[in-house]
Symmetry: C2
């Protein structure tokens, strides 16, 4: 196979395999330099796929379900579509993986089967979050709890490389998620991390990112422990849901407000879409030895196409190589 | 002085002393069983206050500014309105303190000058947060970082006592803020806390409160480390601000949406007010040897009246005594 070879997990996500196959078909038509290794049960996929140039099926009879124990499933189900896709990267048959499967299984598969970049302590999940002025990368958002300061430092490097190489931000501004702007603010972890961030020279540290200012701020990358990142992400989601729900209730309270809502529909629709971070593509798993993109579980064909585009950009932008180079640049240092 | 004696910091907050004086005046008129010890410079306050039954001025010539170092200021400025109010509680002249001063100074003053309840490791700041179905108490929201599991357990007790005694919830449901619902989820701290919470018998533990479900859930108390609580609180604030800002932009985009917004005004107004947790009274500082209420810095007379009402409810509900009793009940145990 030629060009950028992307292994796709045909069986991950709520709409698999139909939406996944549709997404692959759209992607190869749009990107002439992309070839796809579609991992799943051939007998099931082939009739739906038919003949398609630059899509090859890699037989994987087994499936990892959404509620299986991630580590156990990845270890045991060596013939699953997810594990086969991950192994294709390890064996050099593909450069990237796209999966809409369970977050836990993708993490476990990325770490155990693709493998870490040598020197990286903890791979991290890094969704793009919509902000008021521009989107930002939140790293880590749940893959790693009980982080050490050094992990956060590596998150800063990885996030910076991604925003530069994939999102085209020339000098990404990296903020350290904290409960105050001053250097001495925070808990043990953030105070220690602040020291490390200030010393290093491989990414642009823009200081503490106070949480209140994160959605409206100028940070391109926001670094935090995975527990904190998950709280941040889920609170955005929960608050947006609460507000839209309340608005719906208030609108129903009178004819006047009902008519108002009807007229305001385009604006309300945009508002709802705003905070739906799932629309901003999949979340890259950074720090593993290949471009791994976790698409949302409810992805349709378009979302899968977008995730493949994203994986392609990670390959084109040489994200893995640049993280490796970043680690080397800093050899004498703390990273 | 008779009834519930509440010491009020006349000089704390953006609108001091005028709004504070107005709030005190409103409170004594509304609550015949409340007497106020108004702490501040007599020469400044008396002309604005005039004669008012059940309000007595306690001379305090000094003021702690919003940007002073809290610990240092509380230690040094023994004649400040805040410290004088706190000392009035320590000396038994008042049962409660209300201040709209800086959070840091109120924390420091509460801990150093009012003093902790014997056995309580860390007093905690616990604002009431509006939810979809009912408000809940978030404890801690920033007073304590690097918490130990035992502190969280005490937060659970204190939060439960407050919701029962002040908010009238018969059996408050206490949730442990976490990144998943299962017992084995979370970081070291929450896993250990989960064990302690499950063992104790002095409050009703309702399991892990996954962040996504916190605003729409059925928890009366949500317990977390202060770093996490602060992230949660500020993310709600930041997200609400972002959404209202975006809506404003979208509304302006056409005549249709402008008219829609005009008709929808009552609903939008309610929406904006919804997530303004400052409207839900001040935040109690729980775990100190008196009823301390931190009113918002921008409080007007009505907000101060509400904070005084809240302090009165804490005295009437015997919050401090009940926390003490809770600790005793659990003597043989971990608390």
């Amino acid at each position: 196979m030629n060009g950028y070879v992307i292994a796709v997990d045909a069986m991950g996500g709520d709409n698999a395999p139909r939406a996944i196959i549709e997404g692959c078909r759209r992607a190869v038509r749009k990107f002439p330099d992309v070839s796809i290794l579609l991992c799943g049960p051939k007998a099931m996929i082939l009739p739906m796929l038919g003949q398609e140039e630059r899509i090859e099926i890699l037989e994987a009879p087994d499936v990892i379900g959404m509620h299986e124990h991630p580590m156990l499933a990845v270890r045991k189900k060596t013939e699953s579509s997810l594990v086969k896709a991950m192994l294709a990267v390890r064996e050099g048959r593909a450069g990237a993986v796209v999966s809409a499967g369970s977050t836990g299984a993708i993490l476990a598969g990325g770490i155990l089967r693709v493998g870490r970049i040598p020197g990286i302590e903890r791979p991290a999940l890094a969704p793009i979050i919509p902000g008021a002025n521009k989107p930002f990368l939140l790293i880590d958002c749940g893959a790693n709890v009980d982080c050490q300061a050094k992990y956060l430092l590596q998150f800063g490097l990885m996030g910076s490389v991604y925003m530069q190489s994939v999102m085209g931000v020339q000098v990404p501004q990296v903020g350290l998620c904290n409960i105050g702007t001053e250097a001495e603010k925070g808990d043990r972890l953030t105070k220690e991390a602040y020291g490390l961030f200030s010393e290093q020279k491989i990414f642009s540290f823009a200081g503490n990112a106070e949480v209140r200012d994160v959605p409206t701020g100028d940070f391109d990358v926001v670094v935090c422990d995975g527990f904190v990142g998950n709280v941040l992400l889920k609170t955005i989601e929960g608050t947006a849901k609460l507000m839209m729900g309340n608005l719906r209730t208030y609108v129903r309270s009178s004819l006047r407000t009902k008519i108002g809502a009807l007229l305001l529909k385009p604006a309300l629709y945009r508002l709802k879409a705003d905070l739906d971070y799932k629309r901003h593509g999949g979340a890259p798993l950074l720090g593993v030895n290949g471009a791994v993109v976790k698409a949302h579980g409810s992805s349709d064909g378009e979302a899968i196409e977008n995730a493949i585009r994203q994986a392609r950009l990670m390959l084109e932008g040489r994200v893995v190589e640049k993280i490796r180079e970043g680690l080397k640049e800093d050899e004498e240092h703390v990273l």
